[in-house]
Amino acid sequence: MAADPSAADLDAAEIRRERIAAFRHGVQAIVPALVATWAWGLVTGVAMVKSGLTESMALAMSLLLYAGSAQLTSLPLIATGAPLWLVFAAGSIVNLRFLIFGAALHPYFRHLSWPRRLALGYFTTDMGFVLFMPRYADAAQKGTREQLWFFLGAIAPGWLAWQSSSVIGIYLGALVPSSWSLDFAATLALLAVTVPLASSRPMLAAMAAAGAVAWVGQALPLRLGLAAAVLAGILAGMAAERRARGRA
C-alpha cells in the first residue's frame, strides 16, 4: 500500500491542473468583454456621484448591489425621493433576467452546498452566463469540475473590473466631460459581444424580436420594455426553432 499516498498526490495534482486549466479558459473567454464591463463600471461610478449620492453612498451601492442596470435605474428614483417599494420593484424588474439565468445555471451547480450556490449566484454576471451557456448547453454531464471552474474564471475578472472601474468613476470620472459620450464606448463594447451571438436562424429571430420590442417599449416606465423584449425574444426563438425542426 506504499504506492497509495503518491497515487493520491497524483490525483490531487491532476485535479488541480484540471481546475487551473478550466479557470484559465474562463478568464480567456471573458477578457474581450472586460472592456465593456470596465466602461460600464466607469460610467456607473460617475452617474452615481452625479445623481447626488455621496462618495460613501456610491461605494456602498457599488460593492453591495453589483448590478449596473439596477443601479442606473434606481438613481433617478432615489434622486427624486421615490417611495422605497418603487425603488425595490424597479430594481427587481431590471434584474428579472438573473432569475432566468439562475434557472438555466442551476443544473450545473445543484450538487454544491447552499452557501456556495448563494455565492455563485450572487457573483453571476450577464457575460459569465452568456459565455457559459453556449459552451455547455449540450454537455452530456452537468455539474463537472471543468464547468464550475470555467464559470469561476469567467465571473471573477468581471467583479474586479467592475468594482475597480466603479471606484475610479466615483472619484475621478466626474472630471471627464459628458460631451465625450464615454457611455457610448460601453454600448460599442456590448455590441462586439452581442453580434457573434447571432449564430443561427432561431437566435437571429430571437434578437430581431427582442430588438423590435425594445425599440417600441422604451416608452414604458420602469424599464419594463427590457423585460418584455426578453420575453418576445424567447418566444420568437422558440417559434423559429420549431419551424426549422418541422422543415427538417
Binding site: V35, L53, A103, P134, A198, G211, A214, W215, A219, A229
Partner: protein, 109 residues
Amino acid sequence: MTDTEIYVYSAILLLTLCSVLTRAGYMVFGDYLPLPDGVRRALRYAPAAALTAILVPDLLPWREDLGPVFDYKLVAGIAGIIVFLRTRSAVLVIVAGMVALWTLRWLGG
C-alpha cells in the same frame, strides 16, 4: 444620520436584497422549483435577447414626447458592426465607433 442618509441607505439595502434574491434565488431554491426541459431550452434565447434589448434604446432612442428619434449613434453603431464582422476585434469596434460618432457630430454640429 440625517433623514436623507437613512432613506438612501435603506434604498441601497433593499436593492441589495433584490440583487441577492434575483441572482441567487433560483440557484439556492432551484430543487424546489423544477423547470420542464422545454422551458430550459427556451431560456437559451434569453441572454442574446437581453443584450439586444439593452443596446437598442441607445442606438434607436424613443423620446416620450417626440416618438422615435434619429441619433448619430445609430450610424456609429452600424460602422462598429461592419468593423466587427471584418476584424472580430472588440477594441477596433470601440475605436471605430467612437471616431465615427465624434466625426459625425463635428460635421453635423
